[in-house]
């Protein structure tokens, strides 16, 4: 009876959540993007290439279905995580928080319901990819139409990834320290850093690559092996026939294991989960009124204020002392410096001591570090340290519910520019000393590229924030850019001065900055019209 009740609760939580998120217009955009992935796979813009000669498969059902599955798995692993990491947040900030927290539903039942909801949404996304690849195979595919070969890889490889990601996203949401931006960053870092070996390979790529390599070796005896890549790959290539991965018991067990691990993660997530408590503290992003404890002050304390007792005939009422308010004679005009200082204070308020210490350390490092590897390390960190400051641009007002106050103030457009300028100052302070040193040493190209970068990154944040009203898009997108351009030291994209080579891209970075700010300003202006 209890089990049936818990099951009913899980299903109810999942159903309500799927309906709520599924009816959001953003989900339609996600589905369209998923269908577009099918297009990219079937035209060969997104596919596997193996070996030094870039071997690629003939576009038969098995090849396209498997590439679709790999693309789907990667998309779910990266973007699916950030998309589904709103299941609890919506309840926490959307209104029913107290209703759910005070209901008899068990914590595990609630989390399982949310996991099912995450999984259902990701399954619909994978379904859209499946429909897309089936329809487009009919137009562009080679060989017989084989729906099983087209769709089985999605079920076998991408669906377990979806189950795992749905659970991990929930675990991050349930853990206070991982709930916010820090969790977003850590997930991406983990995704990039965790090595893939056959035993631990959630995406299943190692099985697929091994099978494909065997097929190439059979068809091209001079094949010498080599690595593989996935994505848009230019250059010469040779085609080989591949009929798909045989589904063995080992493979099935491997894939089902990931599916089985997911509920275990969900159950463990119940341990740190605060059950939507308003005073969870760490990681909290909205201002809940405190319920109790030292920090909170109740309305009742107001009665401590001096009161006057007034006699109204037979009864006695208590009235507060009369209060009067003066007038303000000063002109109310645009004060840019004051606005910038106010935005800077706000941007830096409430960070952890570790963050402040790191910021000061990077500033000192920027001044004192000798040229070469030491400066490169400082710059690499400096270009990511203010991430959470940047990602608030255009978002903070919605996140904290102050948008109606801010947007009806004297210069709401200037407020956006002041927020952006505060972000520029934040990163400028960190990378400025190194840029000046490059300039003085004659590396004017590097200094200019860095200056353009200082303008570009906060501009990208502003554009993403105003457009999406969430910091998540910028955080994920920028981390990928930072990883490719700064960590991997790609000269053509080096806006950070880490390659030391003069960059011809300063003009491009400046143009991106201008275009991004135009998007942000127009977006805010449209809101204010």
């Amino acid at each position: 009876m209890a089990a049936r009740n818990a099951l009913r609760q899980c299903v109810a939580v999942a159903r309500a959540d799927v309906l709520d998120r599924g009816r959001d217009r953003r989900f339609l955009v996600v589905l369209l993007a998923s269908a577009y992935l099918g297009h990219l796979v079937t035209v060969g813009d997104l596919e596997m290439a193996l070996g030094d000669n870039g071997f690629r498969g003939v576009h038969n059902a098995a090849w396209l279905g498997t590439n679709m599955a790999l693309a789907g798995s990667a998309a779910v692993a990266v973007f699916g995580f950030y998309y589904t990491k709103t299941a609890i947040e919506r309840d926490r900030h959307g209104g029913p928080r107290q209703l759910i927290a005070s209901s008899p539903i068990g914590t595990v039942a609630y989390l399982v319901g949310k996991w099912l909801s995450n999984l259902a949404l990701l399954a619909v996304v994978l379904g859209a990819m499946g429909v897309s690849v089936v329809l487009l195979f009919a137009l562009r595919g080679t060989g017989p139409f084989d729906p099983v070969a087209l769709l089985a890889p999605l079920a076998l490889f991408a669906f377990p990834v979806a189950a795992l990601v749905a659970a991990v996203a929930l675990a991050f949401e349930a853990t206070p320290v991982l709930r916010g931006s820090l969790g977003n960053v850590l997930y991406l870092v983990a995704l990039v850093a965790i090595p893939v070996v056959p035993a631990v390979d959630p995406l299943g790529g190692t099985f697929i690559v091994e099978s494909m390599q065997q097929a190439i070796a059979a068809q091209y005896p001079d094949y010498t092996g080599g690595g593989f890549s996935f994505g848009y790959i230019a250059g010469e290539y040779q085609r080989f026939e591949w009929q798909g991965l045989p589904v063995t018991a080992d493979l099935l067990l491997h894939r089902v294991a990931y599916f089985a691990v997911a509920p275990v993660i969900v159950v463990f997530a119940a341990v740190p989960f605060d059950r939507l408590s308003p005073d969870a503290g760490f990681g909290r992003s909205l201002p809940w009124p405190s319920r109790s404890g030292e920090e909170s002050v109740s309305d009742g304390d107001a009665s401590a204020d001096p009161m006057v007792t007034v006699d109204h005939g037979s009864r006695t009422a208590v009235e507060p002392e009369p209060v009067t308010l003066g007038t303000v004679d000063a002109a109310r005009t645009f004060r840019p410096v004051r606005l910038l200082v106010a935005e800077l204070k706000l941007a830096l308020a409430g960070r952890s001591r570790l963050w402040y210490a790191g910021y000061v350390g990077l500033f000192v490092g920027g001044l004192a570090a000798p040229s070469g590897p030491a400066t490169r390390v400082v710059l690499t960190l400096a270009w990511v340290w203010p991430l959470f400051v940047w990602s608030q641009t255009g978002v903070r007002e919605y996140r904290h519910g102050t948008h109606e106050l801010v947007f009806t103030s004297l210069h709401p457009l200037a407020q956006l520019l002041a927020t952006w300028a505060a972000s520029v100052v934040c990163v400028g302070v960190l990378v400025g000393p190194a840029a000046v040193r490059f300039g003085l040493a004659g590396d004017l190209g590097v200094a200019l590229a860095m200056a353009a970068g200082v303008l570009m990154v906060p501009s990208l944040a502003a554009a993403a924030g105003v457009t999406t009203r969430t910091g998540r898009v910028f955080e994920v997108g920028y981390l990928l850019v930072w990883y490719v351009a700064i960590v991997n030291q790609t000269p053509a994209l080096d806006y950070g001065g880490v390659t030391g080579a003069p960059s011809a891209s300063a003009a491009l970075f400046a143009a991106v900055a201008v275009a991004s700010m135009a998007v942000a300003v127009v977006g805010r202006w449209r809101l204010l019209r």
């Binding site: 401590a304 209060v323 009067t324 308010l325 003066g326 004051r338 204070k345 519910g401 109606e404 009806t408």
Partner: protein
């Protein structure tokens, strides 16, 4: 100060209108905006506060079209929305300093004003405490303080007394009462007693339509001689409620004392009593709202 609405309408989506065909003229004073839930009060206030643009009609502030030049309103506006947030990591003083910067107040003037407002809203003692530690009522008082920061010519407060204890409600009414000179205060509420003591004019909305623009005295006059009280047995109460707009019931030893508004004597035992603003408001909603 004049605010003029001409056939003002705001459509949220499809056929859902927040407010429609609203025309009125408002001058200095405290205007009480009354109406049941969903009447369009908040929509009306959001349009005036330039949070959203009207779908149809025009709104003029001192003769200037608000949609064309919203800064004319924003430069003199104090606004307390029904739902608003604060930055939890800031103290009340820091938050008000931030809002003062947005409103273009010089630093010294802002500091003095903040001191004054923290005293008026009874938050002096907690001014250094982070807002994350504030109760709902205290945050509401911070909201009231930020609305008054720039000494606004146009003050719009949407359900300002929600979450305030009785003493703080009285304090707020006193503040509003002191503000009326040379400014327009628009006070939206569904608590009639909030406007009873302060409003010089009333606007009643229902279902997105403007039912009437009048004074409290004139609204009360409309039900003069139509307000009755009598005692009925408990089992007759439901029938009485069906046939008359009941404004109040009080359980007593001999039954239930019923207060209702009716053009005719509703019961042979009913006696005429002095009408209140609440009687008049409920009669207006009941009588004109369904029209």
């Amino acid at each position: 100060m004049t605010l003029t609405a001409e056939n003002l309408g705001k459509r949220w989506s499809g056929d859902v209108w927040g407010i429609r065909n609203a025309s009125l003229d408002l001058d200095d004073g405290v205007v009480g905006l009354l109406g049941p839930n969903g009447a369009g009060k908040s929509t009306f206030m959001q349009v005036i506060a330039t949070v959203t643009k009207p779908t149809e009609g025009r709104l003029y502030w001192n003769g200037a079209d608000v949609a064309a030049s919203p800064n004319d309103v924003r430069s003199v506006l104090g606004y307390l929305p029904q739902d608003f947030g604060v930055y939890p990591n800031l103290t009340a003083t820091e938050f008000l300093e931030y809002m003062a910067a947005l409103k273009g107040l010089p630093g010294g003037v802002a500091r003095d004003r903040i001191d004054e407002l923290l005293a008026v809203t009874n938050l002096e003692e907690y001014r250094g405490r982070k807002l994350s530690g504030y109760s709902g009522g205290m945050r509401q008082r911070v909201g009231i303080a930020q609305a008054l920061l720039n000494d606004p010519d146009l003050l719009i407060v949407d359900e300002p007394t929600v979450g305030l204890d009785p003493a703080e409600r009285v304090r707020f009414r006193n503040v509003i009462g002191d503000l009326t000179e040379d400014r327009l205060v628009i006070l939206s509420t569904h608590i009639v007693t909030d406007v009873e003591s302060t409003a010089t004019e009333l606007v009643v909305l229902d279902d997105g339509r403007l039912l009437t623009q009048t004074t409290p005295e004139a609204l009360i006059d409309e039900v003069d001689g139509m307000t009755w009280e009598w005692t009925v047995s408990s089992d007759r109460l439901t029938a009485v409620k069906r046939s008359h707009p009941v404004t109040k019931t009080v359980r007593r030893a001999g039954g239930v004392l019923v207060r209702a508004v009716s053009p005719d004597r509703p019961d042979p035992d009913a006696t005429a009593v002095e009408p209140t603003l609440e009687d008049a408001y409920l009669w207006t909603i009941e009588h004109d709202g369904g029209a």
